[in-house]
Symmetry: C2
Subunit: 211 residues, 2 copies
C-alpha cells in the first residue's frame, strides 16, 4: 500500500500549501484580505480546489487561529522559570498585552472574530476549545498557587480567572479596535495598560497588608 500512502502525503502537502499561503496573506494584508481566490492564486490552483481540502473559509481561519496560540506560547517560554506566582501572574498579563498589541491580526482571530469558533462548532460535536481552555488553565493554576501561598485573598478561582482574563482581553480588544485612540495618546497606551494591570494586581496583593 505504498502508493496510497504517498497520495495521502501529497494531500497533506497541498493542505499545508493552502495554510502557508493563507498565513502569508494574513500576515501581509491582515485577516480581512484573506480570500479564497487570493489563496488559490498564490498556490496556483483554482479557487474550488481549496474546497477539496477545507470545508470552508472558517476552517482555514480556525487553523490560523491555532497558529496564533503557538505564537502566543513563544511569548511565554520563560514564564515558568518564575517561582513567585504573583510575579508570574504579573508577567503573564504583561506578555498577554504585548502579544496582543504586537500581533493584532492573530489576536483578532484568537479572541475577537466569530469565524474560528463557528468552525470549531462545525468541526467538533463535543466542541472543546482546546487552545483557549489550555491557556486559561495556566492562569487558573497560577492563581491557585497565589492563594495557596497566601499572596492573595482566597476565593473562587474561576471567577478570578475570568476577571483577570477579561481585563487584559478588554484592554487589547479596545486598543486594537481603536476605542482608546481618542482617550489615550498612542505612545502612552502601553505604559497606561501596564499601570492598570499593576494597579489591579496590587489591589489583590495581601502579602504586605495587615488584615
Amino acid at each position: 500500500m505504498g502508493i496510497s500512502e504517498r497520495k495521502e502525503k501529497q494531500k497533506q502537502e497541498i493542505r499545508k500549501m493552502i495554510l502557508d499561503a493563507s498565513l502569508k496573506l494574513f500576515m501581509e494584508q491582515g485577516f480581512e484580505n484573506v480570500s479564497i481566490r487570493k489563496i488559490a492564486d498564490l498556490i496556483e490552483y483554482s479557487p474550488t480546489t481549496v474546497y477539496l481540502y477545507f470545508k470552508d473559509k472558517n476552517e482555514i481561519l480556525f487553523n490560523l487561529h491555532e497558529l496564533g496560540f503557538q505564537k502566543m506560547a513563544e511569548y511565554n517560554t520563560d514564564l515558568w522559570t518564575i517561582k513567585n506566582p504573583l510575579v508570574r501572574l504579573t508577567k503573564m498579563g504583561e506578555y498577554y498585552l504585548q502579544f496582543g498589541l504586537e500581533n493584532p491580526a492573530f489576536y483578532e482571530l484568537m479572541f475577537i472574530l466569530k469565524a474560528p469558533m463557528e468552525a470549531l462548532e462545525a468541526l467538533d460535536a463535543n466542541c472543546e476549545w482546546k487552545s483557549g481552555d489550555q491557556a486559561l488553565g495556566k492562569l487558573k493554576n497560577t492563581l491557585q498557587e497565589c492563594m495557596d501561598k497566601n499572596l492573595i485573598e482566597k476565593g473562587d478561582v474561576d471567577a478570578m480567572a475570568m476577571a483577570i482574563w477579561s481585563m487584559v482581553h478588554g484592554m487589547v480588544a479596545l486598543a486594537i479596535r481603536d476605542r482608546f485612540d481618542k482617550l489615550v495618546p498612542r505612545d502612552q497606551m502601553v505604559p497606561m495598560m501596564n499601570k492598570s494591570l499593576t494597579w489591579l494586581l496590587n489591589a489583590l496583593d495581601v502579602s504586605g497588608k495587615k488584615t
Copy 2:
C-alpha cells in the same frame, strides 16, 4: 426662503427613513445583514440614492452606534440616585454587563467593530469620540468620588478607569464572541460575571480594612 427650508426638511426626512430602515434590519437580522441594497429595498429607493444622504456604509453604522449609546443610557437612568459611589460603581458595572448581553448587536457596533470608528475619522478631523468619552467620564467621576471618600485606595484615576472598563468590556466581548461558551455553561455565565465584578470591587474596597 420657505421653499428651501421645506426642501431641507424633506432631505432630513429621507435621511431618517434610511436610518430607520437600517435600524430595523439591524435589530431583526443583526449587523452583518445590513446591506445598502436591503436598506434601499425597504425604503423603496435605488441603492445609489442612499449615497446621496450618507458618504458610505460606515457613516450609517456610526449613526446606529450613536443610537446604541442612547439605549445604554436608558439602562443607567436610576444610577445617579445612588449616593454611595462604591455601590454606584458596582451597579454601573452590572448595568454595563446587562446592556452588553441583552443588546449584543448594539454592543458590537459601539465597542467591537472598526466601522464606526473609521466613519468617525473620516467625518471629523479632530476626531472626538464624544459618546465614548462621555461614558468613560462618568466612570472616572465615580472613581474620583470613591477616592475622595476614602472608599478605595488613592491612585491614577485614568489607569483605574481603564482597568475597570476593560474588565467589563472584556467579559461582554468574550461572551458575545463565544469565548466563554466552552468554559462556562450559558446559564451560569451572568452570575459568574457578576461574581467576577464583585470580587474585583471587593479587592478595591478598603473601607472595612485596617490599613
